[in-house]
Amino acid sequence: MNLAEGVQLVSLGLLSFMMIGAALGVVLLTNVVYSAFLLGGTFISAAGIYLLLNADFVATAQILIYVGAVNVLIIFAIMLVNKRQDFAPMPKAWIRKAATAVVCVGLFILLSTMVLTTPWAFSSAVGVGNGAIVEIGKHFFTDYLLPFELASVLLLMALVGAVILARREFLPEESDLTGQQPVLTLPERPRELVGAAPGSPDRTITSSPSDQNK
């Protein structure tokens, strides 16, 4: 074993330790904010392992998208949703935990056995290394063109769907006042009319659709 292989092995050990530890923290810690930050640690460790696997472009994309977008999104969701309450204790919750742990350990043993006994057909060709991004670009625009375009359409659909799902649909205090939703109007937050002339006070009054239907 020469020096480079030793360095790679030590790096792999450190990154694996970080990754498994952070993943266990994500699952087992009680505070969900700690879990979110440890999830970022898991993503960064995965990016380091991608670097060990000669994939610098995917490692960069991993850090940009997972740490920069997904993890920040999760932290925002925790801030919007975090309600300081204790969940009601469930009777016999330990049965589910024990059963899941047994199933997970069994699955891990099964997968490890499969990995260790399969004769892998290792390729002896010299890898592309830093030219991987060129190869990825060629694949995107030749034989994987249709999935590439479908991914862009999927991202657009996810954008529109997330906006529609997360939009606040009604105001609870107004529904308490009126008692019923007005028919044939989209219940939305009443907007203030901007740009109205100062001499016409009737146009600056905010009018909600529930008021108009009375």
Partner: protein
């Protein structure tokens, strides 16, 4: 540097993700567990791409697709969590029984 190390690491990460997916009471933590499982799949794809197919790096192409789809899944999933939180005023998975019985 063996392929098997990476595959076993990915298997461990996947199993941790399954455990968290089933046992979490917080809905946001369930989404985090799904992200862990997607990362395990990505790790598998990258290891195969490096050791079995180093010339045409198709595993990296698939990893980029999985990353894009995971981003879309996270956005829609968190929007669903926000919508349910507004309806039920909780994020406890045990009380999300709208379609259960």
């Amino acid at each position: 540097m063996q392929l098997q190390y990476f595959l076993i690491l990915a298997a461990a990460l996947f199993c941790i993700g399954i455990y968290g997916l089933i046992n979490s009471r917080n809905a946001v933590r369930v989404l985090m567990s799904v992200e862990l499982m997607l990362n395990a799949v990505n790790l598998n794809l990258m290891a195969f791409s490096n050791y079995l197919d180093p010339v045409e790096v198709k595993g990296q192409v698939f990893t980029v697709f999985v990353i894009a789809i995971a981003a879309a899944e996270a956005a829609v999933g968190l929007a669903i969590v926000l919508a349910i939180y507004r309806n039920r005023d909780t994020v406890d998975m045990e009380q999300f029984n709208l379609l259960k019985w």
